[in-house]
């Protein structure tokens, strides 16, 4: 049927145009260091998707290190629009975020009543024009919620961060449980953040700039990695992090503190 061919190809072209419309090549947020950027398929943290950031141990409940990391991670995006931070407990302290260089005047804080509300507000915010990024503190979104977040991110190319945080006084989740695996499948990346000992400049008393032990546990289309990152000073360039050291293999690195305890 030669007559049908042009119609078919026209349809194909239409479909391609439609798909291109929804999925433009996503811009990325580079870290400015090839050792980090190399882990990501596009050479940096993908925008137009959502990322899961969690802590370990007590940080699963307090969520301080992941919050500081997420704020720094999204700092370059905050220059482009508002950032919405959805939480269930309002213990986020804006002066602390300002200390990390985060533009607090662009931050809209929302306190939701329950987990489902956190996710729906997050989704609403991500799909809104003028919102550059949104952060939500939730326990574990299921596959469907994760997919919805992804679609919301794709609509406007905004970036979402889900801070995994146990509700106060809630039961400690089993490490590496099924829910974690499931929730990870919809996110672009999954991070685990822990504090790392800081190094004050020689001869100066007090604490050095904050450092984190950052594990990229999962990266869609890329490979995992683990690093020690430090908050970059203004002189270090536009990127919020300075790479201190690369941990050789993130599995070994993760096991290290465990070993020390046993020893």
């Amino acid at each position: 049927m030669p007559g049908a061919k042009p119609a078919l190809s026209a349809l194909r072209a239409q479909i391609a145009a439609l798909e291109a419309g929804t999925r433009t090549p996503p811009p990325v947020l580079p870290f400015g260091d090839p050792r980090l950027d190399g882990c990501f398929p596009a050479g940096g943290l993908q925008r137009g998707g959502w990322h899961e950031v969690g802590g370990s141990g007590l940080e699963e409940e307090t969520g301080a290190a992941p919050a500081a990391f997420a704020a720094l991670l999204l700092r370059p995006l905050a220059a482009k629009g508002a950032v919405v931070w959805v939480m269930r407990r309002d213990d986020l302290h804006a002066p602390g975020l300002m200390g990390l260089g985060f533009p607090v005047e662009r931050l809209i804080q929302v306190r939701a009543r329950d987990e489902a509300e956190v996710l729906s507000v997050l989704e609403d915010a991500l799909a809104t024009v003028g919102v550059a990024a949104a952060i939500g503190e939730a326990e574990a979104p299921d596959l469907k919620a994760g997919r919805r977040l992804q679609l919301a991110c794709e609509r406007r190319g905004s970036t979402g961060v889900l801070l995994r945080r146990r509700p106060y006084g809630g039961p400690a989740g089993p490490r590496g449980s099924n829910s974690r695996e499931v929730s990870g499948s919809a996110a672009q990346t999954r991070w685990r953040i822990a504090a790392a000992p800081s190094q004050p400049p020689p001869g100066e008393p007090g604490l050095g700039p904050p450092r984190w032990r950052v594990e990229l546990e999962r990266c869609r289309g890329g490979r995992p990695g683990a690093w020690i990152l430090e908050q970059a000073e203004a002189a270090d360039g536009p990127h919020p992090f300075r790479l201190v050291s690369q941990l050789a293999d993130h599995d070994v690195a993760a096991g290290e503190p465990e070993l020390r305890l046993v020893g």
Binding site: L58, E59, T62, G63, A64, A65, P66, A67, A68, F69, A71, A82, V84, D90, D91, L92, H93, A94, P95, G96, L97, M98, G99, L100, V104, E105, L107, I108, Q109, V110, R111, A112, R113, E117, V121, D124, A125, T128, V129, G130, V131, A194, A195, A196, P197, S198, P200, P205, G206, L207, G208, P210, R211, R213, P257
Partner: protein, 484 residues
């Protein structure tokens, strides 16, 4: 004896129980307000009495006042037992003033609230005609004087002293009073009396305290058949929003608050409210904010009238369509609707932006501002590091310190012991002595804050409350925040 027993309300004044109100049957039997309850009971043994409840009366009158909004947006409470409606320009909706008055009074009578009514040019004349003229008197424009003339002088709302004096002087009717020279009237009964006469005749203006400020931003939809289905309510919501917003747009105005009221057949009002963070007049958007709340509306036997009110109306320039998508998106299209959605869904106190507040006490240094208000110029002091998580109430920790004034070398928080690797401080923060009594904010309440880092690198914000003084009382240590 009649089938309906006479009824009187009783109020206790200075230990004496007196009649506060009597119904027609009781009045016909010779009872009057102010009579002792015991005397009344002796005269009319089957008198039914109840306690007078002025607050309840007032509340009921307010409900009635709100209900009357279906007739006119401008309704004022009048004393203890009256309502004044400004019906200018609305009576045509009922096909004339007489029809409107009949409708209003018939509805009231049907619900067991018999009322008298009158329509006149001035509130004073309407007050007088409703109380002393035949029921449902309607004064033609400018024609209240002849109607007022035969009424008793009490119809003029004079003060008590004047009212008591007039009959003694042989003045019983309004017409007698009107015939007197004004100067004499003013001299004898005070300027108040002259003013009341002028107010009744329209020579002086009278300000009414409407229950809602009179506003042109009001619209109303009435239905031939009562509606009750949710889909109908939604459609009506969209219609009335479009109606009001079209007017707002024509006049270059926008409003921040909208109140949609469903008037039920049985006279109950079901309000639904929505607010905008910035003035707006986008009917679709406002309807979208109102629609999720419609399921709280109980239509009962049906809703016959819907009114929509816009408040906080202010000028709003014509919305500018952004020509290019990249050249910055206006607040109107993006953030403002989001903030509105969130506030209407979660409540105003759950959506905020943290603004600096001039206080060095950490928990008071943040003020919650509306997210879209202009940002403040000043920020927090960048030289004072603050944690990213501030615990709502500090948690007690057990501390080991080498010297009393040193930062701790070890502390235990939430059951886990931590060795302090690095410490920074102290930053001494006193209480705000101007806010409380001295013993609550004195030197014993000073906090010395330290930033400490444990061996794992976790950073904490801890403080010692008070000072080491005579060794009697050991100051306690607290953990207030986490730097992360």
């Amino acid at each position: 004896m009649s089938a309906v027993p006479p009824v009187a309300l009783i109020a206790t004044e200075g230990g004496t129980r007196r009649l506060a109100a009597v119904d027609d049957a009781a009045a016909a039997l010779g009872l009057h307000v102010g009579q002792k309850a015991a005397d009344a009971a002796a005269l009319v043994p089957d008198l039914v009495t109840a306690d007078h409840d002025p607050e309840g009366d007032r509340a009921a009158l307010e409900i009635l006042c709100d209900w009357c909004v279906r007739f006119s947006p401008a309704v004022a409470l009048d004393g203890l037992d009256g309502l004044l409606l400004d019906v200018e320009g609305v009576s045509h909706l009922w096909g004339g003033e007489a029809a409107m008055l009949d409708d209003l009074l018939d509805r009231l009578a049907r619900w067991g609230a018999p009322a008298r009514g009158a329509i006149a040019d001035t509130p004073g004349a309407a007050w007088a005609l409703a109380r002393y003229a035949p029921d449902r008197t309607i004064a033609p424009p400018g024609g209240q004087a002849p109607l007022l003339a035969p009424l008793p002088v009490a119809a003029l709302r004079l003060d008590e002293a004047a009212q008591a004096q007039l009959p003694r002087l042989g003045l019983f009717q309004v017409s007698q009073l009107l015939a007197l020279p004004r100067a004499q009237l003013a001299k004898r009964f005070g300027l108040g009396a002259v003013m009341r006469i002028d107010q009744a005749l329209g020579a002086a203006r009278e300000a009414l305290a409407f229950r809602r400020p009179a506003t042109p931003w009001f619209d109303r939809l009435a239905f031939f058949e009562p509606i009750s289905a949710l889909s109908d309510l939604e459609r009506v919501t969209g219609d009335i929003c479009a109606l009001l917003c079209a007017r707002l747009e024509a006049e270059g105005q926008g409003a921040r608050r909208f109140e949609l009221v469903f008037h039920r057949l049985d006279g109950k009002d079901q309000p639904v409210r929505a607010g905008l963070s910035r003035p707006g007049r986008d009917a679709v958007r406002i309807a979208k904010l109102l629609k999720p709340k419609l399921d709280t509306v109980d239509p009962g036997f049906g809703i016959e009238i819907v009114t929509l009110w816009a408040a906080d109306v202010e000028p709003l320039s014509v919305a500018q369509r952004s020509l290019d998508a990249d050249g910055g998106i206006s607040l109107e299209e993006g953030l403002a609707p989001l903030v509105d959605r969130l506030i209407n869904r979660l409540g105003e106190d759950r959506v905020w932006r943290a603004d600096p507040y001039q206080s060095h006490v950490p928990e008071r240094s943040v003020r919650r501002a509306a997210p879209l208000d202009p940002a403040p110029e000043t920020g927090w002091d960048p030289d004072r590091p603050r944690p990213s998580r501030l615990l709502r109430r500090p948690e007690a920790i057990e501390v080991l310190a080498k010297l009393p004034d040193d930062p701790p070398v070890q502390f235990r928080w939430r059951g886990k012991s931590r060795r302090v690797r690095l410490a920074e401080g102290p930053e001494r923060i006193g209480q705000e002595w101007w806010r409380k009594a001295f013993d609550e904010v004195g030197p014993g309440k000073v906090r010395d804050y330290y930033r400490v880092e444990d061996e794992a690198g976790e950073r904490f914000w801890i403080f010692r409350a008070g000072l080491y003084a005579d060794g009697e009382k050991v100051p306690k240590w607290w953990l207030h925040g986490l730097f992360g």
